[in-house]
């Protein structure tokens, strides 16, 4: 970009400086300060109090339950996301736009409503309640309910990353593989998967962050039994409401760390993806840009 161009299409230095300062000031106040507050409050009483809060059996049980929940919910939504993206991006069929909208639906449902609908199906007064009680199966106010509610709120994450990505890539490469005699699975593993791997990782880490951090939906179906049906966010709530602020922030700091790790991986994936896009862009264009 030449200097003459830049002079005409940007603001005066004073305005640039002012806008940058305003934007960064806003971000410092609304994003950095809350993040910093978590760690400062967690360590207010020193490292030994911090470790004590994390070593406590109920905290450990909450950490374990959160890990189990994510370990079930994320793979389920991963398989779904890949299947949905495959049929939506690679094929034309009636009602495709409607299906895409339905997949996005859980994003716009309040987490509390998400929890409620599972209570209405599996709860004591719900559709399946009497049958479940007869067979002594507990879903609501037990671990299966927590997993189901988490699957619901994280439902679209991976599908929504993959659908636009696979649509943009088209299916020329897969068709070539097919014509050359590859089986469906071979085509997927050796052609599609390498092409979508960054989008896939991106979707998985966002899905995982939400799965581990979900509060509203899980809070409705959990029943809040300490040491049994408390995930980490619910444990934070209980401690906080019992005026154990430091312990609450200690557990919360683990979740904040998870958020930071998520952001770091996400940024790394984006850079990697950009680098690959640039390498691709340097090749001669396939067809004139639409």
């Amino acid at each position: 970009m030449s200097i003459a161009k830049r002079v005409r299409t940007t603001e005066s230095p004073a305005i640039r400086w002012l806008l940058t300062a305003l934007a960064l000031g806003f971000m410092a106040l609304f994003l950095v300060l809350p993040l910093a507050a978590v760690f400062v409050e967690a360590l207010k009483a020193g490292w030994s109090a911090y470790w004590d809060a994390l070593k406590e059996p109920d905290a450990l049980a909450a950490i374990r339950l959160t890990l189990i929940t994510a370990a079930i919910a994320v793979p389920l939504n991963l398989v779904f996301g890949v299947a949905a993206a495959w049929c939506i991006a690679k094929f034309e069929f009636k009602g495709k736009a409607f299906l895409t909208t339905l997949i996005d639906l859980p994003f716009s449902v309040s987490p509390v409503v998400a929890g409620l609908i599972y209570v209405l199906v599996f709860g004591a007064q719900g559709w399946l309640g009497p049958w479940l009680a007869e067979h002594d199966i507990k879903i609501v106010f037990a671990v299966p309910g927590i997993v189901l509610a988490t699957v619901f709120v994280t439902f679209p994450f991976i599908a929504r990353e993959l659908i636009p990505l696979m649509q943009a890539q088209g299916s020329d490469e897969e068709q070539a593989a097919q014509v050359l005699g590859a089986s469906g699975w071979q085509t997927f593993w050796h052609v599609t998967l390498p092409n979508i791997k960054w989008g896939l990782i991106y979707g998985v880490i966002l899905c995982n962050a939400r799965a581990m951090g979900e509060f509203g939906a899980v809070s409705v179906v959990s029943g809040h039994i300490r040491g049994q049906t408390n995930t980490m966010p619910l444990h934070v709530e209980i401690l906080y409401n019992e005026y154990q602020g430091q312990a609450a922030f200690a557990v919360a700091s683990l979740l904040a760390l998870l958020a930071i790790v998520t952001l770091v991986i996400k940024t790394a994936v984006e850079w990697q993806h950009e680098r690959e896009m640039k390498a691709t862009a340097e090749l001669p264009p396939e067809r004139p840009a639409a």
Binding site: A37, A83, T101, S110, E173, L180, F249
Partner: protein, 293 residues
């Protein structure tokens, strides 16, 4: 990437007709079938339970549950606070997106990554952290309280929590559109004598307006349903600072499933309408400006 691999083998073998080529790929029935099954089990069946439960109520019962003063107050609060927060997000989000796209400064990449913090940070953590900052004895609260400014345990706190939650929606919808705007148009405007402000208002703003609207609607939709970050800072006083999702929880705790369902169905209906509006804006933006969104 694909030019090199595809051009040689496929041209003599693949038929020129596109339709026939489409059907070469396998797995349509399997993946569509699985998608529909999973969607029905996880999303559609439970949601229809809510719809059926609502329709099994008499109109009088439904109306009593939905029009109780405490519920109406919560609707007003939830929608009012969400509207204000989404409005603030549009202004702040545009500012942040503008600075991240157009200017360069040290730490820009970190700032860019940080925008997604509200997506990644669990809502309960955001809630207790904002409370610790804004409560009367908190980090900022202790300086604001003597001035008579209270930002926690009242509707102000709700708006602040919702601003936090909604910020990335606006930034992330506006940012790519801003990156794609044609600088040549701005140069042309400048050459024709437009001031920078006129160029922004007449050239840039119309191009990013659909994205801004989409971001606003997404932030609003998220804010209406938000629970975790709000309940810690809200104070949760009936009629004053009690949000609608909390009303639903309260009814559930009293085993008033019908009442909870009635209120939830109103929220669900509004979510559907918002979803349709968002899709509509995105389609409109694509039609008008091609590919934006």
């Amino acid at each position: 990437m694909s030019t090199a691999t595809l051009a040689v083998p496929s041209s003599p073998v693949a038929p020129p007709r596109r339709r026939a080529a489409r059907r070469v790929l396998p797995g349509f029935n399997l993946t569509l079938g699985y998608t529909l099954l999973y969607l029905s089990l996880i999303v559609l069946t439970p949601l229809s339970a809510l719809v059926f439960k609502t329709f099994s109520m008499s109109w009088a019962d439904f109306w009593t549950a939905v029009s109780a003063p405490r519920v109406v107050a919560s609707f007003k609060l939830t929608f009012g606070a969400s509207l204000i927060a989404a409005g603030v997000n549009v202004v702040a989000g545009l500012l942040v997106a503008w600075v991240l796209v157009r200017y360069s400064f040290p730490g820009k990449k970190i700032a860019d990554a940080l925008v997604d913090l509200p997506f990644a940070l669990p809502t309960a953590v955001a809630g207790i952290s904002l409370t610790a900052i804004l409560a009367d004895n908190g980090w900022l609260g202790q300086y604001l309280a003597p001035l008579g400014i209270q930002l926690a345990f009242n509707p102000n706190g709700i708006v602040i929590a919702l601003i936090f939650i909604g910020l990335p929606f606006v930034v992330r919808t506006v940012q790519p559109v801003l990156e794609d705007t044609e600088r040549e148009l701005e140069e042309a405007a400048a050459c024709l004598g437009a001031t920078r402000w006129q160029t922004f208002w007449r050239v840039i703003f119309p191009a990013i307006a659909p994205a801004l609207l989409t971001g606003f609607a997404m932030a609003f939709a998220r804010a209406v349903g938000e629970y975790g970050s709000v309940i810690f800072i809200a104070g949760n006083m009936p009629m004053v600072s009690e949000i609608t999702p909390l009303i639903i929880i309260g009814k559930l705790e009293q085993y008033d499933f019908a009442g909870a369902t009635a209120v939830a169905s109103v929220m669900l209906l509004i979510s559907f309408i918002l979803l349709l509006i968002i899709n509509g804006i995105q389609a409109w933006g694509r039609k008008r400006y091609g590919g934006a969104g």
